[in-house]
Symmetry: C2
Subunit: 440 residues, 2 copies
């Protein structure tokens, strides 16, 4: 099966665990039995591979997520990188061209597109395989998954099929309705539109050539910034008369708010926390290394990260966005392709961070114009290169790097470093990257 996973925007609804650099799909809160915690993207990736070990999975995403994806899924994962955000039609076309031109998939094969963030059981992936098989039959140009509604939701668009068969022609699409209208739709056999569909590669590329002047993937990538922002629904689905919908009635949860996300948690507390006996329907997700004690709470979610602490009534948590928009701050924790960093302390003219470099990983060779830095190695071994001079390092070693000096570190074992940044204007953007000479 060829599958394109759409790994979408940042989203602050799960603050403080999601922020401008970490989308909700990277939060590690799921686990089976006593295994390690997984994020949504790790969970869905593993699920696909366990259902179809030969699946060709391509993740369509923005540049800003590439580090986190490599960090969580390894370096062998296929990523169709959007150079900038241009909505779903350009993104899906780019990923489809990537499949043909980079992965060498035939234009006659079908591809399944689905978002990276539904919380689903294994039967969902069987349904994706069925969707692919249906698309290959070419009974219609596009085959959508229609999710059997479990309640009259106002959050989703609805698909009204022409009949109640497992596969049927689509009658009409309906925008997000109010509850009464949703009830009426459901009585008519309407299905939720979860943004899951399948098509033959040729179909979407032909559509794209009608609208965009490009030759192949590389050409499309090069001119991506000049493309018009337009959704796949608007550019393709709404204009296509020949669409089928296939019913899906398995587990499907949209974990977009703390209220829904905590429903999918297997235990009440992830991380360092204690709940007293009086707590009812309380969930704690704690990424800090200090304990959280909850006493006598009902229907509350507590979530803590280096970015902040949320304590919210579960229902109320869906109104979080305007509050979080007011928190003007840089993210205090970020996963990078080489490891991660956590901000420990911010002062007027200094910032202290903890850097963890994964084994055999390296940072970019870089310099800063407006700040000095001091590294104190606290664990692991590796080497640092400062202005072209290489040096082995071990715990206790200190490296001082004045502004302008070029530097990087390369881990042998996992390397932990306390970095003190000093200067009057400390900004993430103050970074110049350089190529390293071959000998390093």
């Amino acid at each position: 099966m060829n599958i394109i996973l759409l790994s979408g925007g940042s989203g602050k609804r799960l603050w403080p665990l999601s922020n401008d650099v970490r989308s909700k799909q990277f939060i590690k809160i799921f686990r089976e039995e006593t295994q390690a915690y997984q994020s949504m993207i790790q969970r869905i990736y593993r699920q696909i591979q366990s259902i179809d070990k030969d699946a060709v999975i391509t993740i369509a995403t923005a540049k800003t997520q590439v580090s986190a994806i490599h960090n969580q899924l390894g370096n062998d994962v296929n990523i169709s990188v959007e150079p900038c955000r241009r909505d779903t039609f350009p993104a899906i076309v780019l990923a489809t061209a990537y499949l043909r031109d980079v992965q060498g998939v035939s234009e006659d094969e079908a591809v399944v597109v689905c978002p990276v963030d539904p919380y689903v059981g294994d039967e969902y992936f069987q349904a994706l395989m069925d969707l692919k098989v249906q698309a290959e039959k070419e009974e219609a140009r596009l085959v959508l998954m229609g999710i059997e509604p479990t309640y009259p939701s106002e959050k989703y668009g609805y698909i009204i099929p022409e009949d109640k068969n497992a596969v049927s022609k689509v009658g009409t699409f309906k925008e997000k309705p109010n509850i009464e209208t949703a009830e009426r739709y459901i009585a008519q056999g309407a299905l939720w539109n979860g943004g899951v569909f399948a098509y033959k590669i040729k179909y979407v590329l032909d559509k794209a050539h009608d609208m965009i002047d490009f030759t192949d993937y590389a050409d499309l990538y090069a001119k991506y910034e000049s493309l018009t922002k337009i959704s796949f629904d608007y550019a393709v689905v709404e204009k296509e008369s020949d669409i089928q919908v296939m019913r899906y009635n398995g587990d499907w949860k949209d974990l977009g708010t703390w209220n829904t996300l905590t429903e999918a948690m297997k235990e009440n507390c992830i991380g360092n926390g204690v709940l007293d006996q009086e707590c009812k329907n309380v969930h704690v997700i704690n990424e800090l290394d200090i304990p959280i004690l909850c006493m006598g709470l009902k229907d509350v979610v507590v979530s803590a990260s280096p970015d902040g602490i949320l304590v919210s009534d579960k229902e109320q948590s869906s109104y979080i966005k305007p509050y979080v928009d007011k928190f003007v701050q840089d993210a205090k924790f970020a996963e990078k392709s080489w490891g991660s960093y956590t901000v420990l302390d911010v002062q007027e003219e200094s910032m202290t961070i903890k850097v963890t470099l994964n084994p055999h990983q390296r940072m970019n060779y870089h310099s800063h114009e407006y700040r000095d830095e001091v590294w104190t190695v606290t664990a692991g071994t590796g080497k640092v290169i400062v202005d072209g001079v290489e040096q082995q390092v071990k715990p206790g070693d200190v490296i001082s790097m004045p502004a302008g000096c070029r530097h990087t570190m390369i881990a042998e074992t996992e390397l932990q470093v306390i970095e003190v940044q000093l200067g009057k204007s400390i900004r993430a953007s103050d970074k110049q990257k350089y190529e390293l000479e071959d000998e390093f």
Copy 2:
């Protein structure tokens, strides 16, 4: 007025703001108008001085609190330091001897003893002056303050006076009763025993000489460890037949739990926090530098410090102790006589802390047997002395101190330093202190 403030034990009921090294009286949460936040001890000390500018205030406390007291009240405050904890009778005798032998107060003067932690209005201090005047009249050997009960509390001992006059003889004392019994006591005119009383210095020293073989303050201090643990109530009050009680009906609050403490807060949030419109009777005290967002909560206290985070229903918060007893950890924030430190990061073989040294203050000259340390100066100026060699320091300077090396720092302006500790067994107890040569 001579006054002994009893500054008691650590107490974990206000965790995470109180801990083994920081008692509740040092938490800064009170303020008038837009002034800086004050702790209980700062507030009561200031209140006494504003009512009686000539008051001779002596704080009776344990060694472990001396640093915090100097940090909050300055270095000129009189402290009667208990070398170890021996309950209230030895502590009050020691402080009384300190008044006579160190402060030079006459044995014929009266002294008022009161705990450091009631939350009271200025009229309370007028009542203390009245208590002292009453004690000087020598109508009785001991004069207690009896607080007019505002509800039938099970938390306090009761004093039953012989009549309902402003000053009367004490009939009997009653242990903490249940509610029904408390109601009966109150109907009889009973008063709360808040542990506030006055006596002539000679009276308590005579009592002490009957029970302890000592000559003066220095002698008592030297043999303090050998004294029997016994409370003042048990050793003196319960055996004394000649006691008066003076009624007090002003404001008096015992802020021993989060529930009662938050009632005394002038605003709903201290520190970095946001409460949505749906929050009712919610209080946030945040000593971390990350924001706390509260949504849709009712009757909840949220309190955060480098030691941990409490989220509790207010009523339920009084049952905190057994939970906190289970958190085995060193305090992550401490006030010292020279400034303060905050633990930023703890790893298996390293610990990173932020040290703030107040202007013109210095640490002890010391070394560590089992850990190396690295200082990176992030703000301020001063000097460091390492193995007898002095060096001026400024932001960006790095000092490496291998195990065994003697070191200290001395602030000119407020000095901020990131200290990385490295070693297999990092413990607060691994510290040897030395005298510094005179030239430094």
